[in-house]
Assembly symmetry: C2
Homo-oligomer: 83 residues x 2
């Protein structure tokens, strides 16, 4: 399932996580400690190299203090941008 | 990770998928065919019994014609409802 579209969406999600993290002045290590996810997982995720489950997303939104809806704000699958 | 909070969020997500599906007058079979996910997966998901990845969510939002942000509209982790 790792086609161009989904990778692109995962990259957008990664950038969004990094944006929200930096907005809160958190390092990757701080977000790791807050979420219970490893620092390397956070690093991979921010580079669009992970395909997280909803339960992993829940750890992130709780650590970042946003809703799932807000986490996906502005994250649009490539196909939906084109059509 | 299947604690009460995350299960509850997965149940909310399941109800949301079912709502969006019915709003489009799609059966579980029709959504299955449109998304490429099995009918039993859709059924489990709508009952909050699955913990989908972002790539699975992408298949659903493309089939339902919504964004990821819209998919999570109104889905709020239990902890965030309480606090």
């Amino acid at each position: 399932m790792k086609n161009g579209n989904s990778l692109s969406t995962l990259s957008q999600l990664g950038k969004r996580v990094a944006y929200l993290r930096k907005e809160r002045h958190l390092t990757q290590l701080a977000l790791s400690l807050e979420s219970g996810l490893s620092k390397s997982y956070i690093s991979d995720l921010e580079r669009g190299q992970r395909n997280p489950t909803v339960e992993v997303l829940l750890r992130l939104v709780k650590a970042l203090g946003v809703t799932l809806e807000e986490l996906f704000g502005g994250v649009v699958p490539l196909e939906q941008l084109i059509h």
